[in-house]
């Protein structure tokens, strides 16, 4: 949907994505699977929010080949990623690091879940307390009873707006 919506929204022309080409693939299926997994988490720097595994851009192709070269040279997945980050900065990672700068990003959903859960817990707690503490409302005083009578026999009030 990305290309369609991006095209719809911003009128940007993106070509059809063919991405990984047959000749790019590594002979070793295990190594190729690792290359695909890493590529899925690396951003194509000239695209909008596309991974290099999905992108047709020539830069993405260069990066895919680079990933495969490093893997062939014996790098671990982490080493390949670190290499790309050292070269292109954190912008290249589609999954931001768990750094202090990204604390809000990673922490907010969790904090909201805890806070929301706590609020719901309080809601039940308060209600249970109310339920046990106030078994029945106090009877109306004579004055209140008269007011109630008056209200019940009055015409419905006009809509209040202010």
């Amino acid at each position: 949907m990305r290309t369609i919506l991006a095209a719809l929204a911003l009128l940007i022309c993106l070509g059809p994505a063919f991405a990984v080409k047959p000749e790019e693939q590594l002979a070793d299926p295990a190594l190729e699977a690792r290359a695909r997994a890493i590529s899925g988490g690396i951003r194509c720097l000239v695209c909008q929010n596309q991974s290099i595994d999905d992108s047709d851009a020539s830069l993405a192709r260069d990066l895919r080949l680079l990933v495969r070269e490093r893997l062939k040279a014996g790098d671990s997945d982490q080493a390949v990623q670190d290499f790309l980050v050292a070269r292109y900065g954190e912008f290249v990672l589609l999954k931001p690091t768990l750094s202090a700068r990204n604390l809000v990003l990673w922490g907010l959903p969790l904090a909201a879940l805890l806070a929301g859960g706590f609020a719901a817990f309080r809601l039940f707690g308060r209600r249970r307390a109310e339920e046990s503490e106030t078994p029945a409302a106090a009877p109306l005083s004579a004055e209140e009873q008269a007011e109630l009578e008056r209200l019940l026999h009055q015409d419905p009030p006009k809509p209040a707006g202010s």
């Binding site: 949907m1 990305r2 290309t3 369609i4 919506l5 991006a6 095209a7 719809l8 929204a9 911003l10 009128l11 022309c13 070509g15 059809p16 994505a17 063919f18 991405a19 990984v20 080409k21 047959p22 000749e23 693939q25 899925g40 988490g41 951003r43 909008q48 929010n49 596309q50 991974s51 999905d54 900065g89 954190e90 912008f91 290249v92 990672l93 589609l94 999954k95 931001p96 700068r101 990204n102 809000v104 990003l105 990673w106 907010l108 959903p109 909201a112 879940l113 929301g116 859960g117 719901a120 809601l123 039940f124 209600r127 249970r128 109310e130 339920e131 809509p159 209040a160 707006g161 202010s162």
Partner: protein, 658 residues
């Protein structure tokens, strides 16, 4: 001339909208019924004028009137009729006109179908709706006017972006907008309820059909967009966690939460403050989505800074409406009384659980979408937040939510019996585990998470239908059929919607078992794909109405070698923009698909191919379609449309007690 009539109609509509935004509120404040009752008429007039404007732009597109700048930039004489027509909203100006048309449509629909409402409620609701409409009409007229003429009309247009030249364009944006913008009326109801101080069960009943309509359209719109991306983009993905997609997912998540919390408000007078807040938040997220998509801020913060006119205008609208509604909310929230009591283990408790997880998921999507923009604007640092982030935040939040659905369905209002609910669910759970085990056996193992997902999908589906079984068999099996048929539509709707969620989970989990081949094939070559084989017969060229295509002709054979289908994936180059697109070829087998897309060709007989076998992939979209169907069924439940649900419910509940 017709274009000028449209232009003039839009300006008149703006004037009517301003009138409709002010006069009924003034009337309500002064208790002047005459002024208040002008609102429905103004709403109908406003809709008629916007429809006229829209029709005249459509006419300009259909006749390829290139003296209109908008038509020149987005159309071409060779374009097939359907794309000339749907091209009206395939661009910024036209899609904003559609936005305004749908705003006016909902206003007019409320004016027509909600005559039962108190006059002041109807008047103020339509006034708020018209404030939104007036703001967006001003945006159209002053920054994005689709009716501007060119002094020297060119002979040929620049054509529509080829990616958009697909029947999907005729369906996806209107549905999506119907959903997204449909929540405006829920927002207007909420604002009116706050202004008039009438936040009660009647409010929940009033907005329910409108929330449902918007939710159904948004569900279908998102599913349609996902399906379109699946077949259009050539690698068979269905969701990319792109900011533009997230913009539509956020209101869907909170809208779904709203649909559930409004039930609690309607039946039990509880969660009132929260429900109103959700109504406000949902449309605020729609507005935010519009800002993200329309301002150019997504391409980069800098692109926004270079040409900020449109962006700033929408940002201003955003601030006024979101700020205004939250201020109103803050002023009135104290006046709302806490509702009735319920235990944590109850239907209400389950719905609170639902709301918690849906809202936090919406927040996760919100943070993931906006954080990079904010960080760049504030510190200049650039980070990317993509699929891996959402897979770790929003997706896991859905798991407890889905697990809780079958349990929640079984709990009674006010105080439920967890042990009783679970006693039936053990069977459902056992069936789900058996289902996952059967799948695991059939595919000879697989990722544990995918199998767990399949178990979860089955749990949802069996759990949903067990609810019907349970209700129908409660008084012995003898009266099973009459009882089954007596189950209220709204309950059947719930069962279908939840089963739809289960189908979707199944489809998404099954993607783990897809087979992919990226190979270079020569004419005459045959290769295996899952239990099929494919042969490339050759490459041919083809000429379409406004494109030239290179077509690869494949024969698909089953395991025994018998041909079952001819598949012709192609590459097209459109004449207008000289832009290539890829046309995939698919073969459907039950709910599974064989999916082919071609890339570069060489020597006239060799082609790069991406071939997939995607098991049960269609369930990903059938699930949401079933959800939406559930919504429609619920909408057709008379008890919820007419104003007296209490009596009807007593009558229905009376029968099992016989």
């Amino acid at each position: 001339m017709i274009v000028e009539i449209g232009h003039f109609a839009l300006i008149l509509a703006f004037a009517v909208a301003v009138f409709q935004a002010c006069v009924p509120v003034w009337g309500a404040l002064r208790h002047d019924g005459v002024l208040v009752r002008l609102a429905p008429r103004a709403a109908l007039l406003q809709f008629a004028l916007v429809a006229l404007a829209f029709a005249s732009l459509t006419q300009a597109y259909l006749t390829s009137d290139f003296s209109v700048a908008n038509v020149f930039q987005n159309s071409h004489t060779l374009k097939p009729f359907i794309y000339k027509w749907s091209g009206v909203w395939g661009n910024h100006e036209g899609s904003m006109l559609l936005w305004v048309l749908i705003l006016a449509l909902f206003g007019a629909a409320v004016a027509l179908f909600s005559r039962r409402l108190p006059d002041d409620m109807l008047g103020v609701t339509l006034a708020v709706q018209s404030m939104i409409a007036a703001a967006f009409m001003a945006f159209l007229i002053f920054t994005s006017n689709p009716f501007l003429r060119l002094a020297n009309p060119p002979f040929e247009g620049r054509d529509l972006n080829p990616v958009l030249q697909d029947p999907g364009l005729a369906v996806h944006p209107p549905l999506l907008y119907l959903g997204y913008v449909g929540f405006s009326i829920v927002f207007s109801f909420a604002a009116a309820a706050l202004i008039l101080g009438r936040v009660d069960a009647a409010f929940a009943r009033m907005v329910r059909p409108w929330t449902l309509v918007a939710w159904i359209a948004l569900t279908l719109g998102i599913a349609m967009g996902s399906y379109w991306a699946y077949y259009e983009l050539g690698w068979g993905g269905f969701w990319f966690w792109d900011p533009v997609e997230n913009a539509s997912l956020m209101p869907w998540l909170t809208g779904t939460a709203l649909l559930h919390s409004a039930i609690v408000m309607e039946k039990r007078e509880a969660l009132k403050i929260w429900t109103i807040l959700l109504a406000v938040i949902t449309f605020s997220l729609s507005l935010l989505g519009t800002f993200l998509v329309r301002s150019g801020v997504l391409t980069s913060v800098h692109a926004f800074a270079v040409d900020p006119e449109r962006g700033l205008f929408i940002l201003f609208i955003l601030i006024v409406f979101i700020g205004g509604s939250f201020t109103l909310f803050a002023l009135r929230a104290n006046a709302m009384r806490a509702g009735s009591l319920f235990s944590p283990v109850s239907r209400e408790g389950a719905l609170v659980f639902n709301n918690l997880f849906l809202s936090v998921a919406a927040l996760a999507v919100f943070v993931g979408t906006l954080y990079p923009l904010l960080l760049e604007a504030l510190t200049g640092a650039k980070i990317s937040v993509g699929a891996p982030f959402f897979d770790l935040t929003a997706v896991p939040l859905m798991i407890p939510l889905f697990l809780a659905i079958p349990v929640g369905q079984k709990l009674a209002w006010k105080r439920g019996d967890l042990a009783g609910a679970m006693s039936r669910l053990w069977w459902v759970l056992a069936l789900a585990v058996v289902g996952a085990a059967v799948v695991s056996f059939a595919v000879s193992g697989g990722p544990v998470m995918a199998l767990a997902g399949i178990g979860l999908g089955f749990f949802l589906i069996f759990g949903a239908f067990d609810d019907l079984l349970d209700r129908a068999s409660r008084g012995g099996w003898g009266r099973f059929m009459p009882r089954l048929l007596a189950i209220p539509r709204a309950n059947v709707a719930m069962v279908l919607a939840h089963a739809g969620a289960g189908l979707m989970v199944l489809g998404i989990s099954a993607t783990a078992f897809e087979k992919e081949k990226i190979i270079s094939v020569k004419a005459g070559e045959t290769f295996q794909l899952a239990h099929h084989s494919l042969t490339l017969n050759g490459l041919t060229t083809q000429t379409g109405p406004n494109y030239n295509a290179l077509v690869a002709r494949f024969t698909l054979r089953d395991g025994a070698g018998a041909p079952i289908a001819e598949l012709n994936p192609a590459k097209r180059v459109y004449v207008g923009r000289q832009m290539p697109t890829s046309e995939v070829a698919r073969y459907r087998e039950g709910f599974s698909e064989v999916y082919l897309a071609i890339g570069e060709t060489s020597g006239g007989e060799r082609v790069d191919l991406r071939a997939y076998y995607k098991p049960y992939v269609l369930l990903i979209w059938l699930g949401p379609v079933l959800m939406a169907f559930g919504g429609l069924l619920s909408l057709s439940d008379r008890r919820l449309r007419v104003g007296a649900p209490r009596r009807a419910r007593v009558a229905v509940q009376g029968s099992p007690a016989e």
